[in-house]
Assembly symmetry: C2
Homo-oligomer: 255 residues x 2
Amino acid sequence: MKNCMDKIEIIGLRGIPDIKENDDIAEIICRKADEQGVGLREGDVIVIASKIVSKAEGRLVRLDEVEPSPFAVKIGEDMHKTPELVELILRESRKIVKMKFRHLIVETKHGFVCANAGIDRSNVAGERNIVALLPENPDESAKRIREGIKRRKNIEVAVIISDTFGRAWRRGHVNFAIGISGMKPIKDYRGTRDIYGYTLRITQMAVADELAAAAELAMGKSDRIPVVIIRGYDYPRGDGSSKELIYPEEKDLFR
Amino acid sequence: MKNCMDKIEIIGLRGIPDIKENDDIAEIICRKADEQGVGLREGDVIVIASKIVSKAEGRLVRLDEVEPSPFAVKIGEDMHKTPELVELILRESRKIVKMKFRHLIVETKHGFVCANAGIDRSNVAGERNIVALLPENPDESAKRIREGIKRRKNIEVAVIISDTFGRAWRRGHVNFAIGISGMKPIKDYRGTRDIYGYTLRITQMAVADELAAAAELAMGKSDRIPVVIIRGYDYPRGDGSSKELIYPEEKDLFR
């Protein structure tokens, strides 16, 4: 029975502690994987919820220490949002894509199009008043964790930093990849032929986003499983970036 | 070691034959799962590429038998597309959402926003001239297959019909759920509290889309693995529809 090639495992890591600034996430992942008896293996994909990366990198902000601009105050009033939160959203953004129905969809400094610049109020130190910003450079965060794992275990893995995004046209949120290291985010089928020899036209799968989505199934939302191992997936090796998942504006149909 | 709760398996079914009109997909899935030694189990999610469902339901069309309207001819010329293909796209659509850069993004009769109404030229009977339309009613297709499995195996499973979609703002395609039976497509965290007791605001995860995305990792594109079993995921039980994944236009930020 040689079905190992077709089986992929999604393994949630239990017992990750509440992450504090300067915690070593690579060390914690290696240790928890060992404690759980699954270990880390060459070729694993490690998907990490951005929230714990933000915490380790000190990306928490107290809302009462933020001085909202007049524009933030006005938007806050119009959209029924805390002006201090709006101020932070604007600081993390380079463009407002859509303001409608109390939703503030922006393009972040990284280039991600999402609500509220990805700023999150849940699971942050137990205080409603503290929010978590996205990591400053999620690709770099992923790289540091990947290198930390390599230093400890001498194995090559891929690391994906994920966050929960809404989508145009479709209800509900899904997990996307916002930081990547040790893999290419897109699997390119261009030039390959289908089983009839016809050259495929839909050719580029955003596998990093699909891996992030798969990982979310094991994360749940309030279950304290911010790290998931995906084992047995033959990801595209190479030195990729989450930027490859973002359309440049001049090629984007919807900006 | 009680980690079975946190482990989800993605199992690609090998050896699915080329599907012909009126083939019994439920029977084929049950048989191939048994042959592979994995069987089907209560609580499995079966993700099925829409293409084989279209083939079984006779949703193939010969392009040279299509009479393009003058409008389809004009769009075809402007966008460098076969006018017969444009004609079929228009017939499958109720609205054109965007025409730009040779992309024709429509709202299908089902309500899905996607390129070319989901019409696919690859892997269809070995002929460039034959295309596959999406199933007429993918929820009904999923239900028939789920009931066929239940009849044969006396187990409850969830069935998802999936297809490959592009997204706004993000490069690359991912697999989405276009037909659902035996589960709810959205996992609702509204009212649940995070680990600090703060009520969660981002609360609705589109788990059917995440399951479809996870399945694609085992499908590949030209590998003849159109059926994937996802085992060990505690999906939201109930009688759901893919329509729940579509924003009604009046609530949509981007239509």
